[in-house]
């Protein structure tokens, strides 16, 4: 289960709409607790990248993640997951996403189309890497 405020969810949606038709992405910063994760802040990474960056297989490069980790550490937070948008496609992870993920992290995907965000789901990988399970979002 992941707990996140309505305000932060809206920030993710807005980021997705702003970067459309490109994918947006960012980090979810917060804390791991006994009863799931809580998101305290979003940390946007992409800002409507250049055409060439679309060919990148990865939305978030390791050095960007490390920068985010450092920021989180300085603010007594941890990276608890990631968000990204699927422009004009459903908010479900692909096989490719599955092969490129770790358990425990939350992967929030928001579906975007011209001018608006629709579905937003959070996904968590099964510990044996076999599939993604939809994760409950508890909106605070």
């Amino acid at each position: 289960m992941i707990r996140i405020s309505q305000e932060l969810l809206n920030q993710i949606r807005e980021h997705g709409v702003r970067d459309y038709p490109y994918e947006c992405c960012g980090l979810l910063l917060g804390r791991y607790g006994a009863d799931g994760k809580v998101v305290k802040e979003t940390y946007p990474i992409s800002n409507a990248r250049e055409e060439s960056a679309k060919r990148n297989r990865f939305l978030i490069e390791p050095h960007e993640l490390m920068r985010g980790e450092r920021y989180a550490m300085n603010n007594d937070l941890e990276v608890v997951g990631f968000y990204h948008s699927h422009p004009d496609s459903p908010a479900v992870p692909s096989q490719y996403d599955l092969e490129h993920a770790w358990p425990t992290y939350s992967y929030i995907i928001v579906s975007t189309s011209a001018g608006q965000a629709s579905d937003l789901f959070s996904w968590e990988q099964e510990p044996d890497r076999s599939r993604f399970n939809q994760e409950d979002i508890q909106c605070q």
Partner: protein
Amino acid sequence: MPVTISIPAPLRQFAAGQSQIVVEAKTAGEALDQLTSTHSALRRHLFNDQNTLRNFVNVYLNDEDIRHASGPDTPVKDGDTLMIVPSIAGGAVIESEVGQSLPELSNEEILRYSRHLIMPEVGMQGQRRLKAASVLMIGTGGLGAPVGMYLAAAGVGRIGIVDFDVVEESNLQRQIIHGTKDLGRRKIESARDRLRDINPHIEIETHESRLTSHNAMRLFRNYDIVVDGTDNFPTRYLVNDACVLSGKPNVYGSIFRFEGQASVFWAEKGACYRCLYPEPPPPGLVPSCAEGGVLGVLPGIVGAIQANETIKIILGAEALLINRLLLFDAWTMKFREFKLRKDPKCPVCGEQPTIKELIDYEEFCGMAAHQAPQPDTKLEEISATELNARRLRGDPIQIIDVREPHEFEIARIPGTKLIPLGHVVSRMNEIDSDVETIVHCKGGVRSAKAIEALKRAGFQGRLINLKGGITAWSEDVDPRVAKY
């Protein structure tokens, strides 16, 4: 050596909740093996079924990605820290790319590639990737020969070759894709036949043309990887820029005399050729192989390195020559390596690129020369036929040969005096300034430099350059003089 591995938060549940684990190891790979043998549940999250690091898993040794060092073989020392950092995949955009299925291998192909297939690093999956891959080779000369032959033998499914030359006798000392029977044939035809003979299971596409700013983007679009086997600066910059603009990796090699260079320029992942050399050298400063010579086996070695890197790119291997310039000296038999860095100010792959489409590369390489200090006076020239006529008339002239003594031994114009380029200034007093002086070399470049040097040194006599050097003499005046 005790090395600390920091475990990212989501994986701590597979490592007994620890955030840092100390292991004993000599290399990064060994450290990870140690870690995952103690905490076996971690392994599947870091390594794939082929036992290589998952491609989204990055390992940093004290802030440096080990992929940019020696991969798993990167040595570690006491007190080092290894960090495991994921890259985060995007979703929808790449779906189509991932969904492409790889071609199957026939039983004949399985037999042919068996030495590949039994290695887990290649395996069926890797060999099918090779079959699905396409590579464009620019040039079928010294470098292109081993590149083409090894890629064909390895089973790269589609190989494009670009060349416009014909096979000449002086090519055969190093361009082993062509044979004596091919003399006078178009290089692309000779190369195609050789590659087909090596491997009939692959497709070979020939493009008989000079690579230009007009056709480069169109040609590159149809291939996954471009291998640069060119021997001149305009084409090298053209290949680089077209690769950056079309997002293709550029597998680079170059050779001169006994020295070779190799690298992989892939702007999405590291430095490009312009990050290394923003400007071309002034024309004539760096002699070509025709002028300076090249050890025949050298392009064999450098080209084989290019083929090696190309195959590794296709297989998705790590430790590519990205951000690394490999220098090889065949005479001292030494390899050296330089680290390259992507230049944020690079005009083509930097943060604010100014080159957004292909330019005129002849002009670019010539213009840079124009900015270099040029002698005030124009170079006076004479053709071989004219020179011969003047000699027959008995004009009072002297001919100075500025080539090296070993070249003088191969062929000479009768009645000339040998003063190698490096000595012309110090031996200036041996040249009679009251008589007109014709200066020559093999092709006319070094002699022009000699004239410039003599003028700068204050030589008062009249100096005339033999256009085309002794090669022109052999072609136009006396075919008994050997061409080399």
